[in-house]
Symmetry: D2
Subunit: 341 residues, 4 copies
């Protein structure tokens, strides 16, 4: 069976497992106070060119979104997001559970539009009274988006300026950030992300770690007692070393970007094959997620030998599916898939 | 430096790391749907002699307490616990964050008393109106307690009967359950726990895993859509294999109990030494936590070469400290500590 | 100055004030346990032709929506509503505060469409997994809607059938229910509301009371310990008599419908005038809210002598405004307004 | 039947009803933006000698506690209160519903002790780490307490100093504040309350209003967007005039204190009678609540003709009951009660 279902089907990059084994019997303080966490944080800030930043290591993406957003919003505020944003669709209401509304804006291939954002925010600062409405308190974007698309540097800069004008933090969900950073078409670097966002996270779970996301507060703006809020949400790992060692490894010798590149290379290879074979793309994604419309008959046949991800039905006989590559995808598997297509 | 600070200072039992490495490149479904999770659940239920039970694997203890308790309480209910219960003292208000009150009962070396529990519950069923009060909706106990003490089978049975009389689930926090099960004095087996509790968890983090706790619903009583509630709290691990493989390993060939025994053996060894040297015990704990009163001068000296845990000041010159052993404690280290004492 | 801004500009119907004065020195039990509350409940159930129903009196509309919805949803569920539903737009996130998401459907002059609702609900019962999404747990409609429009009996019946098919309670926000019930075009009676909805509330605040909304659970389906949940939300009035006496008065000799009729009569009168003068209606509302597009110049002039409600800008020179009549609007005032128009 | 059960058995002082009737047909803006609310606020601040203060009018006591406390705490903070504090015992978990823990201190006739408070707060600022604990974020006191007792000016000043030292707001629940202010033994004036507390409320419901509590933020410290948070909790009254007119009346010509005095006078009269007849007082309360131990036989007889409040059983044959007087208690009723005793 060939697996192109998602980017979290395998374990971790072998270097991570080796580091875990090599350090296993060291007695270390708990709760992220160990020197591996410290080292990981330093390496991450160096990679971000953001020496004034602050890094916290958490376990998973929904958890990270929930804690970052709820810790930065005031109780009467909501978070602005594309209607297709992960927090608005596939996190089981994790934001609302903390008492906050997701304020949905239209999506454009998964992205929000700067002009639409500005118009929306302006309404809260006009003559009319908005005291009976949920105030926007933060802007959430995902990069890559849930459709694999990317913001350009210009778009990111523009969103950042709008947010600063309205004094709202700009937060980037980087569950697949690595795959965005090494996409051939992008002009957005990790330093740009740190520059334009007030807070973002570098996804580990989908980019070679067993688990783990690294939150970066970029502007000396970590909420007070953030660690207590992490504990309060049940998210403080006793053996913080598990996260520290993984991120320290990923940010040693650019391993994070290097393994991200494998996902992009194999995705490009697969896209080329799909293009040649005449499969219609649902949209043009420059990262590791490929959305293609298949005849249901063809899909059924394919599913005998390959696992892909259902996206949506387009009509009675066609389905959009997602092929995802990852740090772990081999060129051999892409070739085998090509034969099935 | 000698580490007796806590039972989560080292990584994981080596067999776990080996299994993680051996299975690393297998492509598996996410979110706990893989066969290792399935196998772990079966082995756990077999060990519990509870074939009708249901197991869910979560990442950490506070998270587990938060999710189990909030998913079983109705919105107007609170959870009864000893005033020293972990949920009432050291989880940063994780229960209250979900909207529920911890209803504290007096503690007796960390335990609640059956008669006091019964009297408390009775007040809600007398003539008087209690509609302005928080209703008890669940009873929480820890075993071993935060003081390392254990309930007897008779005590556990009695609490269970009281809970059933009042139709309240009895929940056991088993963060250190392994250490309780192999304590020389105990008459409580894992099957007893499953029999008398409606839900409990088997702690992995403190007993040889990198992370992970196994929740067991024992009476065909898993709350509907439990998985969605886990997701909603940010606690659903994408790579559920990380938990499945660990618990599958721990519950193969009784590894869990075997490594628990190391903690008890080294604790007994240390207690013998402390007794011989005349150190006064703060209380008599039959598990892996040892509470001793030290002169501050002595403590300061000791801390040059050993890490122990501060518990409380008893007077201007004395401090209660906790020595903790674990699955990873070596007899050599206990001997070295003996020399320092 | 002429007031057509809203339907809560004046105090209460004089009969209410007289009853409050006449009963003032009676010593009564608190928290709604008095005989006026009891009598009000009986009269309301009789008017609803719903003897098996259960009535609770609350203070205001947002409070009522918050308590009814949060007490009927499970923690992983959200409430389905039109995107323009009051709970989704103008209640400051009161639903999200309780941890639940508002699941917005498209609105059609403020109403939801049965077919769209059915299609939405079906997706949760197909082959695909929805465990990462917020489950629909209730359907909220307002009648009259925020645009003054009404469901037909056929539409209401259809929504009711869909809800029963999917085992979801249908909840009607009747903040202005009186105005809907006496609208000339409607075929929906109070008994129909009780028949087709699982729970609804009869608005008092906007229909002649100082404050107060009467929640009716129609199917022997009051959530257990509802009163405690009311208290928990800070909504239990110590002097419940204030609500009991008001609703007892409103439901004596059909006062509620009678005073509602005044709003409709004066609204019809005003609509006739607007029509004659050629003002373009924004939409056709059959109740007490009239939406008209005005030139900004005209609006500015009008505002010197009359208060109306801003709705939205349609272009640089035009604004939609709302004229609202109420139980307290006099024909004289409508005539005076006519002169200004 | 004679009513001494509580202080909210009757409607409102007649002057309030007269004002409501006299102003009934005035068309006024909603949500507390009317001139009666404005006037009430000015009179209250004048009475408090606190020109820099800010007043908000809310409907009930639990609602007020819930909103004030949740709007002033950060998410990781709890509120310190006496274990017998109303928020900890009889508000159905209204504070926990907002996600915050009540941190209970020992009570001394309903009061907290300054030294115990200081010692408790100090522990959070010592060497030890408290990041896994709920931080104290506010101190709640009731005055009069739930036992009718009062803080002295010296005690209040001391609590205030401790709170300022630790930068915690001091909040007074003044549900029965009027009865405290006119108690013969007190040296605490309304101006003192405003001086020493950061926020407090003046209870209307129990002191002559139909409903209503006036929150005073005394130090230019109203939380931003407080009105939105009030709306979000379902507590914003559409017809705010109902509260404005009541408090404007109560604070005209010192009506509030004048009617409070009636409760104290009748309570003193009743205490004198009880003393003469040899009834043992459970504790010595200087306000309108009188706690007496009765033989159950005697109580049963008394209950044929009088309503009193059950407090607690002391042994098999005795019960503590509470007699409450109020603004509405007549001397004639006290005399009639005397005959029954």
């Amino acid at each position: 069976m060939l697996y192109f279902e998602c980017d979290y089907s395998e374990g971790a990059h072998e270097k991570i497992l080796e580091r875990l084994a090599a350090t296993n019997r060291e007695s270390l303080p708990g709760y992220g106070m160990d020197h591996y966490c410290q080292s990981a944080k330093e390496k991450i800030l160096a990679a971000c060119q953001c020496p004034e930043g602050d890094v916290h290591l958490l376990v998973g993406g929904t958890q990270t979104n929930q804690i970052v957003i709820s810790s930065m919003l005031r109780s009467y505020e909501g978070v602005v997001a594309a209607e297709t944003g992960h927090i608005n669709t596939h996190e089981a209401g994790a934001i609302e559970t903390t008492g906050h509304k997701v304020l949905a804006l239209p999506q454009h291939e998964g992205k929000i539009d700067g002009d639409e954002l500005r118009r929306y925010l302006q309404t809260f600062y006009g003559d009319e009274n908005h005291e009976h409405m949920v105030f926007p308190g933060m802007v959430y974007i995902s990069h890559p988006t849930e459709y694999g698309t990317l913001y350009t540097k210009e778009e990111l800069k523009s969103l950042s300026e709008i947010c600063r004008q309205y004094k709202l933090p700009l937060y980037m969900d980087g569950a697949r950030l690595g795959y965005g950073l090494v996409s051939p078409g992008t002009d957005v670097s990790l330093a740009d992300v740190a520059k334009y966002c007030d807070v973002f996270y570098i996804g580990g779970t989908k980019v070679g770690a067993l688990c783990g996301e690294a939150v970066v507060f970029t502007k000396n703006n970590t909420p007070p007692h953030f660690m207590t809020m992490v504990k309060q949400r049940g998210a403080l790992l006793a053996k913080g070393r598990l996260l520290g060692i993984q991120f320290d490894t990923l940010f040693t010798d650019s391993l994070y970007l290097e393994i991200s590149k494998n996902a992009i290379d194999t995705a490009e290879m697969l896209k080329q094959i799909l293009r040649e074979k005449g499969y219609p793309f649902y949209l043009d994604s420059p990262t590791n997620q490929i959305f293609v419309t298949l005849e249901d008959k063809k899909l059924k046949e394919l599913q005998k030998n390959a696992v892909v991800s259902f996206w949506e039905k387009t009509d009675a006989d066609h389905t959009v599916v997602r092929f995802a590559t990852s740090w772990a995808t081999s060129k051999e598997d892409v070739k085998k898939l090509a034969e099935l297509l």
